[in-house]
Structure formats: C-alpha cells, structure tokens
Amino acid sequence: MVYFDNAATTKLDKNVLESMLPYLTDSYGNPSSIYKLAQENRIAIENARSSIASIFNAKPNEIYFTSGGTESDNWALKCIAQAYQKKGKHIITSSIEHHAVLHSCKYLESQGFRVTYLPVDKDGLIDLEKLKESICDDTILISIIFANNEIGTIQPIEEIGKIAHEHNIIFHTDAVQAVGSVAIDVEKMNIDAMSLSAHKFYGPKGIGALYLRKNVKIMPFMDGGAQEFSKRGGTENVPGIIGMAKALEIAYKNLDENNIFLTKLRDKLIENILKNVPHCRLNGHRYKRLPNNVNISFEFIEGESLLLLLDSKGFFASSGSACTSGSLDPSHVLLAIGLPHEIAHGSLRITLGKYNTSKEVDSFLTELPEIIKRLRDMSPLYDEYLKNNLG
C-alpha cells in the first residue's frame, strides 16, 4: 500500500512512540499531584512546553495544550472574540479556512459578531489590499489559515500580521498544516495566536496546542481545574504532550532535508501529471505551496470513483469532490479559487510524507493515466467533449 494522504494524518514516528511509552505505562501520575510519581510528569510536561515554545521563538507560558487543531481553532476564535467583544464585534477571515475556523465564525455570527470572509485569487492567495480595506474601527481579530489543507497554498503570514498590528488587531493563524513543514517565528511573523495539531507531523492524534501571545486576552474554553494557567482545565494528556514535543523536535531538526526531498517528489508528480494526462490543471499556487501537496483536477471525471480505483491499486489519496464530502457539496476551497462544480468534482489531492519513496511516486505515475482513461471512457461529459471538438 502507498499512503498519499499525509494532510489527513501521518504515521506515528517510532521515536515519538518510544518517547511516549513510559507515560503510558509506569509514569502514570497526575501532574497536579504533589508526590514524586506525579511531579516527574509535571517536569516532563513543562520541559515539553519549553521545547515547543523554543521552536517557534515563543515563551513557554505562551503554549497551551489542547486536544488538537479543532479545539485550538474553536478556542482562539470564540474565546478571543468573547474577551474583546467590548472593543468590537468584527472579525476578518478567509473563504478557504478549515471548517474548524469557518464554523466557529458561523457560531460567532449567530452571537452578534460580523465576519468578513476574504476571497482568494485563482491560486488561493488572499489580497493584502482587500484585507486592509476590510478593516473596520471595531475589527478585533484577523484569522487566516497559514497553509491550506486542500490546495497547499501558503499565505503571506508575516505581511498579514504586520497589517493586523498596524491596526492594533489580534492575528490568529491556523497553522495545522504548516507546522512541521514551514519554519515559523511568531515574533518575526507577527503572530499572536496559532493552532497546531500533533498528528499532522508524525505525532499522536488528539493532542495539539494553541500558541497565545502573553498580552492577548482569552476566555477559558474548558472550565475546570487550574491546568494550562487556569485557561484550559482537565488532566493533561501526558503521553500526547511528550509525543508532540518529540515529533516537533524531529520535524524541525530535519526540516530542510525533508523539504528538499518532499519538494522533489511533489514537483515530479505535478510536472509529470500535467505533461502526460490531458485536460487537467493544478490547484493552488505553483510555488507558494506546501512541499508535500499536489492537488490536480481532472476534467470529465468524478473524484470518488478515482479514489476507489486508486485504492484498488493500493494508493490512498483524497478528493474535494461533492460525492466524497458527506454533505454532497464540493469543497468550499476549490469553489473559492473559482473552479466550476464539475472541475472541483474531478479533484485529486496527494499529500506526501517522509515515509514515501521515489519508487512509490513512479509507480503511481505509471498507473494514473490508465485509471483516468478508464473513467473518461465511462463519462458522458468526455463523450460530449469529443463530439464537440473532433467534429
């Protein structure tokens, strides 16, 4: 089997597992207790916090552990808005956010906040001028996804943060897909709040963090004990926290090397597919994109059928097709970059990871054209195209 869905989740790194094991077995003490068994875990957690903070040039007391990206996004959006609602009730975000941000914004709208959803261009980039224009006197928060999970486009985060700060507005970024692939300095990039999730960088599932700049106010999301500076109650997920810190350490130690490897495979896939399969297009920016993301739309075919045929050959990938979405709506991200429904339908997302090999990419490139052809031979749309274009 060939796993090409690393944006969905990644395989746990063996070294990460090893770092977690003691905390799943003998070191079971509750970090809030006072005896040795517990205090060792307190120390381990605080070391993890420091190590994570240093990777992003943050301070340890600016890192809050959460259950993952969804919680971090919900917490940042809803509870920063709540903390600043006396100052204003306007929020700016983009039209290509993850649902964790989009649906939090929908909730805030129901609570009397106004939300501006910035459009994106055909490559998925927001327009900084439009961002400036949309700022109002009562704008309290700007939240823009660092790197998109579907099309991989990376936003000009530093510039967005600069604009936010010039207007005294808090800047949150959902960096769930960027962390582990992009070097991030929260000071230099003017980031006030940032969501991350360990399972996207070879860490365990169900653990994440919110970076929150010291002077930024936030209401608690989980009321409870005094954990996480009394901002997020609940006994800590000790093995998860340790694993996340280890996973980050590994990711950033090997960042350049890994990215060179992934970019090479990515570009090989993109160039080869665009050259050898007719009637397809790349979605997302050609260069300002995650090193592991390939997203291509194939005309005249539908994504779920494509995934099923790929699955039958042992390749696991994903699609933004309406038929795969559960809600039967095509991906809002693909529609936001201007794709008509039927082109969004034929989208294929391949997201590479460090365990993929050049050989896997080659065998995929061998199989793909045949699979596309097979589906097109079944497609009434392709028939129509041939009729209209071949006389």
Binding site: S321, C323, E342, P380
Partner: protein
C-alpha cells in the same frame, strides 16, 4: 476507506461495470443530472417491438452512481418497456445489497435515466395516445 461502506456487489459493479458505452443505433436515449451533487448519467436503449434488446450507459459520478447504472442496465436488458418502467431505485438498491444512506440519491439517478430513455423511445416510436398513456402511468407512480 470509502469502499468499506459499499457492499461487495456495489464494488463488483463499480470495478467491472456491465454494459458501459454508447449505442450508435439507439432509439431511446435518456440523460439526467443529479441536482444534489452534480453528476450525470446517460442511458442508451435499443428497443424492438417494445422489448429492450440492448442497453448501454455512461456515467459521470461516484462509485454508487456507476454501480447503480451498471446493475440497472442488467435489470432491464431483455425486458419489455412496461416491465422495465416498474424498476424503481429501491429495486436497484436491493439488487446491490444496499447502499450507504448518503448514496441513496445516486440510485434515483439510475431510475430517472432509465425512465427518460424509455420515454424518449416511446415519444419517437409510439402512437400519440399510447405514449400519453405511458406518461400518465409514470406520473401516477411518482
């Protein structure tokens, strides 16, 4: 994976679809689009003395859409058009050992495409009163 939700029958008809293609000498053709997710199904019929002698399909859609097209063509082949019209999306689903709830609308596509193809045949080849009777029958069924 998605195919876990599909029965073996569905996967069989998806992987090895029966009667894919078009018919040059079709005398009934039906094309329907799915308002729900935007998919398209086209059915070609060759009818002789009201009996469906040959049938082919082309589908732009998900695994369930392709599998239901495939089984629907199998179900109607050799039947007279009145019996073929009795085939509902329910029958199509049953023949496939069921579909996941979110995919039920795909089986409606097969029923609609089939009806559209039969009506197309009927309109072109039947006497006006016979055609109208057929149309009425379909309406009351709905």
């Amino acid at each position: 994976m998605i195919n876990m939700a599909y029965s073996e029958k569905v996967m069989d008809h998806f992987m090895n679809p029966r009667n894919v293609g078009s018919l040059e000498d079709a005398n009934g053709v039906g094309t329907v689009g799915n308002a729900k997710c935007g998919d398209i199904m086209k059915i070609y019929l060759k009818v002789k003395n009201n009996v469906i002698e040959d049938v082919k399909f082309k589908t732009f859609g998900c695994g369930a859409a392709i599998a239901t097209s495939s089984i629907a063509t199998e179900l109607v082949k050799g039947k007279n058009i009145y019996d073929a019209l009795k085939i509902t999306n329910k029958a199509v689903m049953e023949a496939l050992d069921g579909l996941p709830p979110v995919k039920i609308h795909c089986s409606c596509l097969a029923e609609e495409a089939l009806h559209a193809a039969i009506l197309d045949y009927a309109q072109k080849n039947m006497k006006a009163d016979e055609f109208n009777k057929l149309k009425e029958k379909l309406k009351t069924k709905k």
